[in-house]
């Protein structure tokens, strides 16, 4: 009985365009919701989360020595075969990488190298802007990796930014934290 009533109700609703009206209401609501657009790169910029897997970086230990012991485990586990490590023995008799190259053009940022490393020497940091005109520039060596920015302390916000094309294309963020983009958008 109630099912029949439901069906009658549905038909009455259709006769008065209840379905169309609810669709119009939905789009109207969205019209006044916050837009998801991030005006990258010259107005806004997104700060990555702490767990974000961006460009790799190599860490130093307390004495300022490179932490990597050139065990080549990262090179082994890498599914893209994009890490190349050549070991040598330094003055103190420690095994260190003479050459440590990551071909970021082939890397898929899975983070396995970070997981595999026994010396906690490599990690994926917060940098995500490293596009280049030549894929050769994407092969990053040991010394450059040591200088790359580390993990983000906080993040997940959108901050005001400025595009600087004087020396190199650089998006400068002027504030440490912005509005939380993910919280702000309307989802259903």
């Amino acid at each position: 009985m109630s099912r029949a009533l439901d069906r009658v109700g549905t038909w009455v609703g259709w006769a008065f365009f209840a379905d169309l009206a609810s669709a119009l209401g939905l789009t109207f609501g969205y019209m006044f919701s916050r837009s998801v657009t991030m005006q990258y790169p010259d107005k806004e910029k997104w700060l990555p989360y702490a767990r974000y897997r961006g460009h790799h970086f190599l860490k130093r230990d307390a004495e300022g020595e490179i932490k990597c012991v050139a065990c080549e485990l990262c090179a082994r586990i890498c599914p893209c075969d994009c890490i190349e490590v050549v070991p040598y023995e330094d003055e103190k008799g420690n095994r260190r990488p003479a050459k440590f190259e990551i071909d970021t053009a082939r890397c898929l940022f899975c983070g396995l190298c970070e997981d595999a490393c026994p010396a906690d020497a490599i990690a994926l940091g917060q940098q995500y802007e490293f596009s280049s005109f030549s894929s050769r520039d994407l092969v990053i060596g040991r010394d450059d990796l040591l200088l790359k920015p580390g993990k983000a302390a906080s993040g997940g916000g959108v901050v005001a930014a400025r595009l600087d094309t004087q020396k190199t294309v650089l998006v400068e963020a002027n504030e440490p934290r912005g509005y939380n983009w993910w919280r702000n958008i309307r989802r259903r």
């Binding site: 169309l20 669709a23 939905l26 789009t27 109207f28 019209m31 919701s33 837009s35 005006q39 309307r186």
Partner: protein, 328 residues
């Protein structure tokens, strides 16, 4: 002397009308893109000018400087004629459209319409029907299957929807005892026609959507399945002609809805200048058109025909009969 002044006034009004109508698509495209953007949680144009206000200008300049391409197999004469045929009728129709009663400028009473024909409604429908030639010729002359399919659809669609559209206004004519648009608005001074003619309004509005070829009835240029429909092969300024025509027709249908069913320049409650009332109502319906566009999907072709012949036509006929019985 009198005659010269009258003629000069008419020429001035016509020139003003053409200028306004030609410039109207600029803000309308901006509005449409902004509305589209915000409904889809985007921002729409943001970069050219303040919040993209100058974007239509940039687009216009781009269209003007684009290559004017004519396909090799096209019928060159018809191909060039079609955009003009599509553009002219919507402009001509506005000659018969009243925007208000009179305003006094420098002590002289000036009517806010170019002409007050006693068959204005008939004129409007006759001329608006000509617009379809531009679409049909455009699709035919381009010699492309997408364009041809688009114009074939338009052909069938226009025929199916002009009939209920024409029938829907008969109720209004019965009420006003006149076909002059000015008289029709005057007859609504106390109560708007929408109260007496809800079915008539519904049929007219849906048919108007189809007439303006807007979603959900934009089968002529269904970008999903026909490229861009009848203007697939057009580029540059000829394409712009079609776009201008589309926007002017959208405004025209809104204006007609307001005049026929929503009391024209008669206001309610808030005493605003009549012209402002009129423009506000028209703006609301233009917004409604855009709102529909970004809410509804497109009807399938057979659904379109079903709606036209099996729903709108019987409804409009019933509306005539009921109106005739009640108000005779």
């Amino acid at each position: 002397m009198e005659l010269v002044v009258a003629l000069g006034l008419i020429a001035f009004k016509v020139a003003l009308l053409i200028a306004v109508l030609l410039l109207l698509p600029l803000p309308l495209t901006w509005m449409e893109r902004k509305i589209a953007g915000h409904m889809q949680q985007r921002m729409g144009p943001m970069r050219v000018g303040w919040h993209g206000l100058l974007q239509p200008m940039a687009d216009g300049i781009k269209l003007l400087t684009k290559e004017d391409h004519i396909p090799a197999e096209a019928d060159r004469f018809l191909f060039k004629l079609a955009p003009i045929l599509a553009l002219a009728p919507p402009f001509v129709v506005f000659v018969a459209i009243p925007f208000g009663e009179t305003v006094s400028v420098l002590g002289a009473e000036i009517t806010l319409y170019v002409s007050n024909m006693n068959v204005a409604l008939l004129f409007v429908f006759a001329v608006i029907g000509l617009e379809v030639y531009g679409v049909i010729f455009g699709g035919w002359a381009a010699n492309s299957k997408y364009a041809l399919l688009g114009s074939l659809r338009t052909c069938a669609q226009m025929i199916s929807y002009e009939i209920p559209m024409g029938f829907a206004v008969i109720g209004v004519v019965i009420l006003a005892q006149s076909m002059s648009l000015v008289d029709i608005v005057r007859a609504q001074a106390d109560l708007w026609n929408i109260v007496y003619q809800p079915i008539g309004f519904f049929v007219f509005f849906v048919a108007g959507l189809a007439e303006a070829q807007r979603i959900p009835f934009d089968l002529a240029e269904a970008e999903g399945d026909l490229g861009a429909g009848f203007h697939t092969e057009y580029s540059g300024i000829r394409f712009a002609f079609f776009m201008v025509s589309e926007y002017v027709i959208m405004v025209l249908v809104s204006v007609l809805v307001v005049i026929l069913f929503f009391g024209g320049w008669n206001g309610v409650l808030i005493p605003l200048p009549p012209l402002l009332w009129f423009l506000l109502k028209v703006a609301f319906f233009v917004y409604l058109f855009m709102w529909f566009r970004f809410t509804f999907p497109r009807y399938r072709y057979d659904q379109l025909m079903t709606i036209g012949w099996k729903v709108l036509l019987p409804l409009s006929l019933a509306n005539i009969i009921i109106t005739g019985i009640v108000f005779s």
